[in-house]
Symmetry: C2
Subunit: 247 residues, 2 copies
Amino acid sequence: MKHVKEVANLTGISIRTLHYYDEIGLLSPATSKTGYRLYSNDDIEKLQQILFFKALDFPLKKIKNILEQPDFNQLEALHYQKERLVEKKERLETIIATIDQTIQNVKGERTMTDQEKFKGLDFSQNQYEQEARKKFGDEAINQSSQKLNRLNSVEKDVLEQSFHAIYQKLAKLRHGSPASEEAQNAIHEWYDFLNNNVGYHYTLEAFQGLGQMYIEDERFTKNIDRYGEGLALFMREAMAVYANQNK
Amino acid sequence: MKHVKEVANLTGISIRTLHYYDEIGLLSPATSKTGYRLYSNDDIEKLQQILFFKALDFPLKKIKNILEQPDFNQLEALHYQKERLVEKKERLETIIATIDQTIQNVKGERTMTDQEKFKGLDFSQNQYEQEARKKFGDEAINQSSQKLNRLNSVEKDVLEQSFHAIYQKLAKLRHGSPASEEAQNAIHEWYDFLNNNVGYHYTLEAFQGLGQMYIEDERFTKNIDRYGEGLALFMREAMAVYANQNK
DNA sequence: TTTAGAGGATTACGTAAGGTAAGAGTCAAC
DNA sequence: GTTGACTCTTACCTTACGTAATCCTCTAAA
Protein backbone atom coordinates (compact mmCIF):
# COMPACT_ATOMS: atom_id res chain seq x y z
CA MET A 1 0.00 0.00 0.00
CA LYS A 2 1.51 3.26 -1.15
CA HIS A 3 0.79 6.83 -0.13
CA VAL A 4 0.25 9.58 -2.67
CA LYS A 5 3.78 10.87 -2.58
CA GLU A 6 5.27 7.51 -3.29
CA VAL A 7 2.98 7.02 -6.25
CA ALA A 8 3.79 10.49 -7.51
CA ASN A 9 7.51 9.80 -7.28
CA LEU A 10 7.11 6.50 -8.99
CA THR A 11 5.10 7.75 -11.91
CA GLY A 12 6.06 11.36 -12.29
CA ILE A 13 2.49 12.60 -12.11
CA SER A 14 1.50 15.14 -9.50
CA ILE A 15 -0.32 14.56 -6.23
CA ARG A 16 -3.00 16.95 -7.38
CA THR A 17 -3.54 14.71 -10.39
CA LEU A 18 -4.03 11.71 -8.12
CA HIS A 19 -6.55 13.71 -6.13
CA TYR A 20 -8.29 14.67 -9.31
CA TYR A 21 -8.48 11.13 -10.61
CA ASP A 22 -10.01 10.13 -7.33
CA GLU A 23 -12.46 13.02 -7.53
CA ILE A 24 -13.76 12.01 -10.94
CA GLY A 25 -13.84 8.35 -9.98
CA LEU A 26 -11.19 7.34 -12.44
CA LEU A 27 -8.84 5.92 -9.84
CA SER A 28 -10.19 5.69 -6.31
CA PRO A 29 -7.85 3.95 -3.88
CA ALA A 30 -8.78 2.67 -0.46
CA THR A 31 -8.39 5.09 2.42
CA SER A 32 -6.97 4.68 5.88
CA LYS A 33 -9.04 5.47 8.97
CA THR A 34 -7.64 8.95 8.94
CA GLY A 35 -8.48 9.55 5.33
CA TYR A 36 -5.11 8.92 3.71
CA ARG A 37 -5.26 7.40 0.24
CA LEU A 38 -3.70 3.97 0.02
CA TYR A 39 -2.77 2.66 -3.41
CA SER A 40 -2.66 -1.11 -3.92
CA ASN A 41 -0.77 -2.95 -6.61
CA ASP A 42 -3.96 -3.19 -8.60
CA ASP A 43 -4.36 0.57 -8.39
CA ILE A 44 -0.82 0.98 -9.67
CA GLU A 45 -1.54 -1.23 -12.65
CA LYS A 46 -4.74 0.59 -13.38
CA LEU A 47 -2.82 3.83 -13.26
CA GLN A 48 -0.41 2.43 -15.79
CA GLN A 49 -3.31 1.64 -18.11
CA ILE A 50 -4.64 5.15 -17.63
CA LEU A 51 -1.31 6.67 -18.55
CA PHE A 52 -1.05 4.56 -21.67
CA PHE A 53 -4.36 5.91 -22.84
CA LYS A 54 -3.31 9.39 -21.82
CA ALA A 55 -0.23 9.06 -23.98
CA LEU A 56 -2.71 8.68 -26.84
CA ASP A 57 -4.51 11.87 -25.77
CA PHE A 58 -7.67 10.09 -24.79
CA PRO A 59 -9.85 12.31 -22.59
CA LEU A 60 -10.19 11.02 -19.06
CA LYS A 61 -13.91 10.44 -19.45
CA LYS A 62 -13.31 8.03 -22.27
CA ILE A 63 -10.56 6.29 -20.39
CA LYS A 64 -12.93 5.86 -17.49
CA ASN A 65 -15.62 4.43 -19.70
CA ILE A 66 -13.27 2.05 -21.39
CA LEU A 67 -11.83 0.75 -18.15
CA GLU A 68 -15.31 0.34 -16.72
CA GLN A 69 -16.49 -1.91 -19.53
CA PRO A 70 -17.21 -5.29 -17.95
CA ASP A 71 -15.55 -7.06 -20.86
CA PHE A 72 -12.47 -4.88 -20.88
CA ASN A 73 -9.55 -6.95 -22.06
CA GLN A 74 -6.20 -5.69 -20.93
CA LEU A 75 -4.15 -7.59 -23.47
CA GLU A 76 -6.29 -6.38 -26.33
CA ALA A 77 -6.02 -2.84 -25.03
CA LEU A 78 -2.25 -3.08 -24.86
CA HIS A 79 -1.98 -4.24 -28.44
CA TYR A 80 -4.30 -1.48 -29.53
CA GLN A 81 -2.34 1.15 -27.62
CA LYS A 82 0.87 -0.03 -29.14
CA GLU A 83 -0.50 0.26 -32.65
CA ARG A 84 -1.74 3.79 -32.06
CA LEU A 85 1.52 4.84 -30.48
CA VAL A 86 3.39 3.58 -33.49
CA GLU A 87 1.10 5.71 -35.61
CA LYS A 88 1.73 8.67 -33.41
CA LYS A 89 5.42 8.10 -33.75
CA GLU A 90 5.01 8.05 -37.50
CA ARG A 91 3.20 11.35 -37.41
CA LEU A 92 6.12 12.80 -35.51
CA GLU A 93 8.42 11.49 -38.18
CA THR A 94 6.31 13.25 -40.78
CA ILE A 95 6.63 16.51 -38.89
CA ILE A 96 10.37 16.02 -38.61
CA ALA A 97 10.56 15.48 -42.35
CA THR A 98 8.53 18.64 -42.88
CA ILE A 99 10.98 20.55 -40.74
CA ASP A 100 13.86 19.20 -42.79
CA GLN A 101 12.19 20.40 -45.93
CA THR A 102 11.46 23.75 -44.38
CA ILE A 103 15.10 24.15 -43.46
CA GLN A 104 16.04 23.60 -47.07
CA ASN A 105 13.28 25.95 -48.08
CA VAL A 106 14.54 28.71 -45.83
CA LYS A 107 18.01 28.24 -47.19
CA GLY A 108 16.60 28.60 -50.66
CA GLU A 109 17.56 25.09 -51.67
CA ARG A 110 14.05 24.00 -52.52
CA THR A 111 10.50 25.25 -52.60
CA MET A 112 7.41 23.94 -50.89
CA THR A 113 3.73 24.04 -51.66
CA ASP A 114 1.47 25.34 -48.95
CA GLN A 115 0.26 21.82 -48.29
CA GLU A 116 3.74 20.49 -47.87
CA LYS A 117 4.39 23.14 -45.25
CA PHE A 118 1.78 21.61 -42.99
CA LYS A 119 2.29 17.92 -43.47
CA GLY A 120 1.87 16.07 -40.23
CA LEU A 121 0.75 19.15 -38.36
CA ASP A 122 -2.92 18.25 -38.31
CA PHE A 123 -3.68 17.86 -34.63
CA SER A 124 -7.36 16.98 -34.81
CA GLN A 125 -7.60 14.82 -31.76
CA ASN A 126 -10.48 12.74 -33.01
CA GLN A 127 -8.04 10.57 -34.82
CA TYR A 128 -8.68 7.41 -32.96
CA GLU A 129 -12.34 7.73 -32.30
CA GLN A 130 -13.84 5.55 -34.98
CA GLU A 131 -11.27 2.88 -34.44
CA ALA A 132 -11.63 3.04 -30.71
CA ARG A 133 -15.34 2.66 -30.94
CA LYS A 134 -14.95 -0.51 -32.92
CA LYS A 135 -12.39 -1.93 -30.56
CA PHE A 136 -14.03 -1.06 -27.31
CA GLY A 137 -17.52 -0.92 -28.70
CA ASP A 138 -19.09 1.40 -26.21
CA GLU A 139 -21.62 4.11 -26.39
CA ALA A 140 -19.51 6.39 -24.30
CA ILE A 141 -17.14 7.24 -27.06
CA ASN A 142 -20.02 8.62 -29.05
CA GLN A 143 -19.30 12.20 -28.15
CA SER A 144 -17.88 12.84 -31.58
CA SER A 145 -21.06 11.72 -33.20
CA GLN A 146 -23.15 14.07 -31.13
CA LYS A 147 -23.72 15.81 -34.37
CA LEU A 148 -25.34 12.69 -35.73
CA ASN A 149 -27.16 12.05 -32.49
CA ARG A 150 -28.58 15.51 -32.42
CA LEU A 151 -30.36 14.91 -35.70
CA ASN A 152 -33.91 13.72 -35.58
CA SER A 153 -34.92 10.58 -37.39
CA VAL A 154 -36.16 12.33 -40.50
CA GLU A 155 -32.84 14.08 -40.87
CA LYS A 156 -31.04 10.82 -40.38
CA ASP A 157 -33.05 9.30 -43.19
CA VAL A 158 -32.10 12.12 -45.48
CA LEU A 159 -28.51 11.67 -44.47
CA GLU A 160 -28.49 7.95 -45.12
CA GLN A 161 -30.08 8.44 -48.48
CA SER A 162 -27.53 10.93 -49.69
CA PHE A 163 -24.87 8.56 -48.47
CA HIS A 164 -26.22 5.77 -50.64
CA ALA A 165 -26.86 8.17 -53.44
CA ILE A 166 -23.27 9.28 -53.62
CA TYR A 167 -21.97 5.73 -53.52
CA GLN A 168 -24.32 4.63 -56.25
CA LYS A 169 -23.43 7.57 -58.39
CA LEU A 170 -19.78 6.71 -58.02
CA ALA A 171 -20.43 3.05 -58.73
CA LYS A 172 -21.94 3.99 -62.08
CA LEU A 173 -18.91 6.05 -62.97
CA ARG A 174 -16.35 3.53 -61.87
CA HIS A 175 -15.56 2.22 -65.34
CA GLY A 176 -14.64 5.69 -66.56
CA SER A 177 -11.71 7.83 -65.53
CA PRO A 178 -11.33 8.83 -61.90
CA ALA A 179 -10.26 12.23 -63.16
CA SER A 180 -13.39 12.79 -65.25
CA GLU A 181 -15.46 15.80 -64.42
CA GLU A 182 -18.41 13.74 -63.25
CA ALA A 183 -16.25 11.60 -61.04
CA GLN A 184 -14.58 14.63 -59.54
CA ASN A 185 -17.92 16.29 -58.93
CA ALA A 186 -19.16 13.21 -57.13
CA ILE A 187 -16.00 13.05 -55.08
CA HIS A 188 -16.42 16.67 -54.20
CA GLU A 189 -19.88 15.86 -52.94
CA TRP A 190 -18.38 13.07 -50.90
CA TYR A 191 -15.77 15.39 -49.42
CA ASP A 192 -18.39 17.97 -48.49
CA PHE A 193 -20.66 15.32 -47.12
CA LEU A 194 -17.97 14.02 -44.83
CA ASN A 195 -16.98 17.43 -43.62
CA ASN A 196 -20.53 18.45 -42.91
CA ASN A 197 -21.78 15.32 -41.27
CA VAL A 198 -19.03 13.35 -39.72
CA GLY A 199 -18.24 15.90 -37.04
CA TYR A 200 -14.63 15.82 -38.02
CA HIS A 201 -12.81 17.97 -40.48
CA TYR A 202 -10.87 16.27 -43.23
CA THR A 203 -7.95 18.15 -44.67
CA LEU A 204 -7.25 17.29 -48.28
CA GLU A 205 -4.33 15.25 -47.10
CA ALA A 206 -6.46 13.33 -44.65
CA PHE A 207 -9.09 12.83 -47.31
CA GLN A 208 -6.53 11.33 -49.62
CA GLY A 209 -5.32 9.14 -46.77
CA LEU A 210 -8.88 7.99 -46.24
CA GLY A 211 -9.02 6.88 -49.86
CA GLN A 212 -5.84 4.95 -49.36
CA MET A 213 -7.42 3.17 -46.42
CA TYR A 214 -10.28 2.09 -48.62
CA ILE A 215 -8.02 -0.39 -50.30
CA GLU A 216 -5.60 -1.07 -47.49
CA ASP A 217 -8.21 -2.00 -44.96
CA GLU A 218 -10.24 -5.02 -46.00
CA ARG A 219 -13.26 -4.02 -43.99
CA PHE A 220 -13.59 -0.84 -45.98
CA THR A 221 -12.93 -2.51 -49.28
CA LYS A 222 -15.61 -5.10 -48.69
CA ASN A 223 -18.26 -2.62 -47.65
CA ILE A 224 -17.59 -0.27 -50.48
CA ASP A 225 -17.37 -2.92 -53.16
CA ARG A 226 -20.89 -4.01 -52.30
CA TYR A 227 -21.95 -1.05 -54.40
CA GLY A 228 -19.94 -2.33 -57.31
CA GLU A 229 -16.79 -4.32 -57.74
CA GLY A 230 -13.68 -2.20 -57.92
CA LEU A 231 -15.40 0.84 -56.45
CA ALA A 232 -12.95 1.11 -53.55
CA LEU A 233 -10.00 1.24 -55.90
CA PHE A 234 -11.76 3.73 -58.12
CA MET A 235 -12.54 5.95 -55.17
CA ARG A 236 -8.99 5.92 -53.96
CA GLU A 237 -7.82 7.10 -57.37
CA ALA A 238 -10.50 9.74 -57.60
CA MET A 239 -9.85 11.01 -54.11
CA ALA A 240 -6.14 11.29 -54.79
CA VAL A 241 -6.82 13.25 -57.97
CA TYR A 242 -9.24 15.46 -56.09
CA ALA A 243 -6.78 16.15 -53.32
CA ASN A 244 -4.01 17.02 -55.74
CA GLN A 245 -6.14 19.19 -57.95
CA ASN A 246 -7.45 21.24 -55.08
CA LYS A 247 -4.14 22.01 -53.55
CA MET B 1 -4.33 36.62 -49.35
CA LYS B 2 -6.36 33.80 -47.87
CA HIS B 3 -9.59 33.87 -45.90
CA VAL B 4 -10.00 31.96 -42.66
CA LYS B 5 -11.65 28.97 -44.23
CA GLU B 6 -8.90 28.45 -46.72
CA VAL B 7 -6.28 28.60 -44.02
CA ALA B 8 -8.27 26.21 -41.89
CA ASN B 9 -8.54 23.74 -44.74
CA LEU B 10 -4.89 24.05 -45.51
CA THR B 11 -3.67 23.49 -41.99
CA GLY B 12 -6.35 21.42 -40.36
CA ILE B 13 -6.80 23.84 -37.47
CA SER B 14 -10.20 25.33 -36.76
CA ILE B 15 -11.48 28.76 -37.64
CA ARG B 16 -12.11 29.37 -33.98
CA THR B 17 -8.43 28.73 -33.35
CA LEU B 18 -7.48 31.35 -35.91
CA HIS B 19 -9.84 33.79 -34.22
CA TYR B 20 -8.27 32.94 -30.91
CA TYR B 21 -4.72 33.43 -32.12
CA ASP B 22 -5.75 36.81 -33.42
CA GLU B 23 -7.42 37.63 -30.11
CA ILE B 24 -4.29 36.94 -28.08
CA GLY B 25 -2.09 38.68 -30.61
CA LEU B 26 -0.23 35.56 -31.59
CA LEU B 27 -1.18 35.75 -35.25
CA SER B 28 -2.98 38.88 -36.36
CA PRO B 29 -3.56 39.07 -40.08
CA ALA B 30 -4.54 42.16 -42.00
CA THR B 31 -8.25 42.82 -42.36
CA SER B 32 -10.31 43.92 -45.32
CA LYS B 33 -12.45 47.04 -45.13
CA THR B 34 -15.34 44.90 -44.07
CA GLY B 35 -13.43 43.21 -41.30
CA TYR B 36 -12.53 39.93 -42.99
CA ARG B 37 -9.21 38.47 -41.92
CA LEU B 38 -6.72 38.23 -44.77
CA TYR B 39 -3.74 35.92 -44.32
CA SER B 40 -0.58 36.72 -46.28
CA ASN B 41 2.18 34.29 -47.12
CA ASP B 42 4.16 35.59 -44.19
CA ASP B 43 1.23 34.85 -41.92
CA ILE B 44 1.11 31.33 -43.26
CA GLU B 45 4.78 30.82 -42.52
CA LYS B 46 4.39 32.23 -39.06
CA LEU B 47 1.52 29.85 -38.50
CA GLN B 48 3.75 27.00 -39.52
CA GLN B 49 6.30 28.07 -36.93
CA ILE B 50 3.56 28.27 -34.33
CA LEU B 51 2.41 24.76 -35.11
CA PHE B 52 5.93 23.40 -34.86
CA PHE B 53 6.19 24.80 -31.37
CA LYS B 54 2.74 23.51 -30.58
CA ALA B 55 3.84 20.05 -31.60
CA LEU B 56 6.34 20.38 -28.78
CA ASP B 57 3.57 21.37 -26.37
CA PHE B 58 4.82 24.88 -25.87
CA PRO B 59 2.12 27.08 -24.35
CA LEU B 60 0.94 29.80 -26.70
CA LYS B 61 2.27 32.54 -24.47
CA LYS B 62 5.77 31.21 -24.75
CA ILE B 63 5.42 30.79 -28.48
CA LYS B 64 4.33 34.36 -28.72
CA ASN B 65 7.26 35.56 -26.68
CA ILE B 66 9.74 33.55 -28.66
CA LEU B 67 8.45 34.76 -32.00
CA GLU B 68 8.44 38.33 -30.75
CA GLN B 69 12.13 38.30 -29.85
CA PRO B 70 13.79 40.80 -32.15
CA ASP B 71 16.69 38.43 -32.72
CA PHE B 72 14.52 35.41 -33.42
CA ASN B 73 16.35 33.18 -35.86
CA GLN B 74 14.11 30.92 -37.86
CA LEU B 75 16.78 28.51 -38.94
CA GLU B 76 18.04 28.06 -35.41
CA ALA B 77 14.49 27.50 -34.22
CA LEU B 78 13.92 24.85 -36.86
CA HIS B 79 17.01 22.94 -35.85
CA TYR B 80 16.00 23.18 -32.23
CA GLN B 81 12.48 22.00 -32.96
CA LYS B 82 13.77 19.08 -34.89
CA GLU B 83 16.01 17.97 -32.04
CA ARG B 84 13.18 18.15 -29.53
CA LEU B 85 10.84 16.29 -31.82
CA VAL B 86 13.37 13.53 -32.20
CA GLU B 87 13.52 13.33 -28.43
CA LYS B 88 9.77 13.20 -28.26
CA LYS B 89 9.81 10.41 -30.77
CA GLU B 90 12.30 8.57 -28.63
CA ARG B 91 10.07 8.93 -25.61
CA LEU B 92 7.28 7.38 -27.60
CA GLU B 93 9.58 4.52 -28.45
CA THR B 94 10.26 4.05 -24.77
CA ILE B 95 6.57 3.88 -24.05
CA ILE B 96 6.11 1.37 -26.84
CA ALA B 97 8.88 -0.76 -25.34
CA THR B 98 7.18 -0.51 -21.96
CA ILE B 99 3.96 -1.75 -23.49
CA ASP B 100 5.78 -4.68 -25.04
CA GLN B 101 7.17 -5.59 -21.66
CA THR B 102 3.79 -5.18 -20.05
CA ILE B 103 2.28 -7.54 -22.59
CA GLN B 104 4.83 -10.17 -21.63
CA ASN B 105 4.19 -9.39 -18.02
CA VAL B 106 0.46 -9.92 -18.37
CA LYS B 107 1.10 -13.17 -20.13
CA GLY B 108 3.29 -14.22 -17.21
CA GLU B 109 6.39 -14.43 -19.34
CA ARG B 110 8.36 -11.89 -17.34
CA THR B 111 8.07 -9.64 -14.33
CA MET B 112 8.50 -5.90 -14.02
CA THR B 113 9.53 -3.60 -11.25
CA ASP B 114 7.24 -0.72 -10.47
CA GLN B 115 9.66 1.67 -12.11
CA GLU B 116 9.79 -0.32 -15.27
CA LYS B 117 6.03 -0.16 -15.50
CA PHE B 118 6.18 3.61 -15.93
CA LYS B 119 9.17 4.07 -18.16
CA GLY B 120 8.57 6.85 -20.62
CA LEU B 121 5.25 7.81 -19.09
CA ASP B 122 6.53 10.90 -17.34
CA PHE B 123 4.58 13.70 -18.94
CA SER B 124 6.01 16.62 -17.00
CA GLN B 125 5.72 19.29 -19.61
CA ASN B 126 8.62 21.32 -18.33
CA GLN B 127 10.92 19.11 -20.28
CA TYR B 128 12.23 21.72 -22.63
CA GLU B 129 12.18 24.76 -20.46
CA GLN B 130 15.78 25.04 -19.38
CA GLU B 131 17.03 24.26 -22.83
CA ALA B 132 14.57 26.62 -24.43
CA ARG B 133 15.62 29.40 -22.16
CA LYS B 134 19.21 28.98 -23.21
CA LYS B 135 18.35 28.84 -26.87
CA PHE B 136 15.89 31.67 -27.02
CA GLY B 137 17.32 33.42 -24.02
CA ASP B 138 14.32 35.36 -22.92
CA GLU B 139 12.83 36.30 -19.64
CA ALA B 140 9.41 35.24 -20.75
CA ILE B 141 10.09 31.59 -20.37
CA ASN B 142 10.82 32.11 -16.74
CA GLN B 143 7.44 30.96 -15.55
CA SER B 144 8.86 27.67 -14.39
CA SER B 145 11.34 29.40 -12.17
CA GLN B 146 8.68 31.45 -10.48
CA LYS B 147 9.63 29.51 -7.44
CA LEU B 148 13.11 30.93 -7.61
CA ASN B 149 11.84 34.38 -8.49
CA ARG B 150 9.49 34.44 -5.59
CA LEU B 151 12.38 34.03 -3.18
CA ASN B 152 13.90 37.15 -1.76
CA SER B 153 17.58 37.81 -2.08
CA VAL B 154 18.48 36.40 1.33
CA GLU B 155 16.76 33.17 0.48
CA LYS B 156 18.53 33.05 -2.85
CA ASP B 157 21.85 33.37 -1.08
CA VAL B 158 21.02 30.52 1.21
CA LEU B 159 20.03 28.51 -1.80
CA GLU B 160 23.22 29.21 -3.67
CA GLN B 161 25.27 28.32 -0.66
CA SER B 162 23.69 24.96 -0.14
CA PHE B 163 24.14 24.36 -3.84
CA HIS B 164 27.87 24.93 -3.55
CA ALA B 165 28.01 23.04 -0.30
CA ILE B 166 26.63 19.89 -1.83
CA TYR B 167 28.96 20.07 -4.78
CA GLN B 168 31.95 20.58 -2.56
CA LYS B 169 30.95 17.75 -0.32
CA LEU B 170 30.71 15.49 -3.33
CA ALA B 171 34.00 16.70 -4.71
CA LYS B 172 35.72 15.60 -1.52
CA LEU B 173 34.18 12.17 -1.79
CA ARG B 174 34.88 11.67 -5.43
CA HIS B 175 37.93 9.46 -4.96
CA GLY B 176 35.97 6.95 -2.89
CA SER B 177 33.14 4.69 -4.02
CA PRO B 178 30.02 6.23 -5.49
CA ALA B 179 28.09 3.64 -3.54
CA SER B 180 29.57 4.58 -0.17
CA GLU B 181 27.19 5.70 2.50
CA GLU B 182 28.53 9.25 2.58
CA ALA B 183 28.32 9.57 -1.16
CA GLN B 184 24.80 8.25 -1.21
CA ASN B 185 23.78 10.60 1.57
CA ALA B 186 25.16 13.54 -0.33
CA ILE B 187 23.40 12.42 -3.46
CA HIS B 188 20.20 12.09 -1.50
CA GLU B 189 20.63 15.71 -0.42
CA TRP B 190 21.15 16.63 -4.04
CA TYR B 191 17.99 14.82 -5.07
CA ASP B 192 15.97 16.53 -2.37
CA PHE B 193 17.50 19.86 -3.17
CA LEU B 194 16.54 19.57 -6.79
CA ASN B 195 13.01 18.48 -6.05
CA ASN B 196 12.47 21.27 -3.57
CA ASN B 197 14.03 24.12 -5.43
CA VAL B 198 14.05 23.56 -9.13
CA GLY B 199 10.31 23.77 -9.53
CA TYR B 200 10.32 20.52 -11.39
CA HIS B 201 9.90 17.06 -9.99
CA TYR B 202 12.54 14.50 -10.80
CA THR B 203 11.49 10.89 -10.79
CA LEU B 204 14.27 8.51 -9.93
CA GLU B 205 14.50 7.66 -13.56
CA ALA B 206 14.77 11.27 -14.58
CA PHE B 207 17.32 11.83 -11.85
CA GLN B 208 19.44 9.03 -13.22
CA GLY B 209 19.03 10.47 -16.69
CA LEU B 210 20.22 13.81 -15.38
CA GLY B 211 23.38 12.13 -14.13
CA GLN B 212 23.90 10.66 -17.54
CA MET B 213 23.66 14.10 -19.05
CA TYR B 214 26.42 15.31 -16.77
CA ILE B 215 28.89 13.38 -18.81
CA GLU B 216 27.16 13.41 -22.17
CA ASP B 217 26.74 17.15 -22.34
CA GLU B 218 30.03 18.98 -22.31
CA ARG B 219 28.60 22.12 -20.81
CA PHE B 220 27.55 20.21 -17.74
CA THR B 221 30.77 18.30 -17.48
CA LYS B 222 32.84 21.45 -17.58
CA ASN B 223 30.82 23.29 -15.01
CA ILE B 224 30.74 20.41 -12.61
CA ASP B 225 34.37 19.50 -12.96
CA ARG B 226 35.31 22.96 -11.81
CA TYR B 227 34.59 21.64 -8.35
CA GLY B 228 37.04 18.83 -8.88
CA GLU B 229 38.20 16.84 -11.83
CA GLY B 230 36.15 13.73 -12.45
CA LEU B 231 33.26 14.95 -10.34
CA ALA B 232 30.78 14.72 -13.18
CA LEU B 233 31.61 11.10 -13.81
CA PHE B 234 31.49 10.35 -10.11
CA MET B 235 28.09 11.97 -9.78
CA ARG B 236 26.70 10.03 -12.66
CA GLU B 237 27.75 6.77 -11.01
CA ALA B 238 26.45 7.82 -7.63
CA MET B 239 23.14 8.99 -9.05
CA ALA B 240 22.69 5.71 -10.89
CA VAL B 241 23.37 3.76 -7.72
CA TYR B 242 20.98 5.99 -5.83
CA ALA B 243 18.23 5.55 -8.37
CA ASN B 244 18.60 1.79 -8.41
CA GLN B 245 18.80 1.41 -4.67
CA ASN B 246 15.67 3.45 -4.07
CA LYS B 247 13.49 1.60 -6.48
C1' DT C 1 -32.28 43.74 -58.50
C1' DT C 2 -33.39 40.98 -55.38
C1' DT C 3 -32.47 37.06 -52.89
C1' DA C 4 -30.43 32.78 -51.33
C1' DG C 5 -26.70 30.57 -49.41
C1' DA C 6 -22.09 30.30 -48.15
C1' DG C 7 -18.84 32.38 -45.52
C1' DG C 8 -17.33 35.90 -42.15
C1' DA C 9 -17.49 38.65 -37.57
C1' DT C 10 -18.30 39.43 -32.64
C1' DT C 11 -19.87 38.28 -28.06
C1' DA C 12 -20.40 35.28 -24.54
C1' DC C 13 -20.68 31.27 -22.00
C1' DG C 14 -18.86 26.33 -21.36
C1' DT C 15 -15.25 22.73 -20.80
C1' DA C 16 -11.12 19.69 -19.54
C1' DA C 17 -7.37 18.72 -16.70
C1' DG C 18 -5.31 20.04 -13.63
C1' DG C 19 -2.19 24.29 -10.78
C1' DT C 20 -2.04 26.88 -6.77
C1' DA C 21 -3.09 28.50 -2.29
C1' DA C 22 -5.18 28.36 2.34
C1' DG C 23 -6.30 26.12 6.46
C1' DA C 24 -6.24 22.11 9.21
C1' DG C 25 -5.38 17.28 10.61
C1' DT C 26 -1.70 13.24 11.05
C1' DC C 27 2.47 10.74 11.64
C1' DA C 28 7.30 9.58 12.93
C1' DA C 29 11.12 10.98 15.32
C1' DC C 30 13.74 13.25 18.51
C1' DG D 1 5.34 17.37 23.12
C1' DT D 2 7.00 19.63 19.68
C1' DT D 3 8.79 19.73 15.05
C1' DG D 4 8.83 18.78 10.19
C1' DA D 5 7.24 16.17 6.56
C1' DC D 6 3.12 14.49 4.83
C1' DT D 7 -1.82 14.41 4.15
C1' DC D 8 -6.58 16.12 3.60
C1' DT D 9 -10.40 19.21 1.68
C1' DT D 10 -12.16 23.40 -0.32
C1' DA D 11 -12.09 26.69 -3.60
C1' DC D 12 -10.77 29.68 -6.97
C1' DC D 13 -7.67 30.16 -11.32
C1' DT D 14 -5.87 28.89 -15.98
C1' DT D 15 -5.22 27.48 -20.93
C1' DA D 16 -6.89 26.73 -25.43
C1' DC D 17 -10.08 26.43 -27.47
C1' DG D 18 -15.70 24.40 -28.61
C1' DT D 19 -20.25 25.85 -29.23
C1' DA D 20 -24.11 28.86 -29.86
C1' DA D 21 -26.45 33.02 -31.09
C1' DT D 22 -26.92 36.95 -33.72
C1' DC D 23 -25.67 39.85 -37.30
C1' DC D 24 -22.95 41.32 -41.57
C1' DT D 25 -20.98 40.48 -46.48
C1' DC D 26 -20.18 38.50 -50.80
C1' DT D 27 -21.32 36.14 -55.07
C1' DA D 28 -24.18 34.02 -58.23
C1' DA D 29 -28.41 32.81 -59.95
C1' DA D 30 -33.27 34.14 -60.86
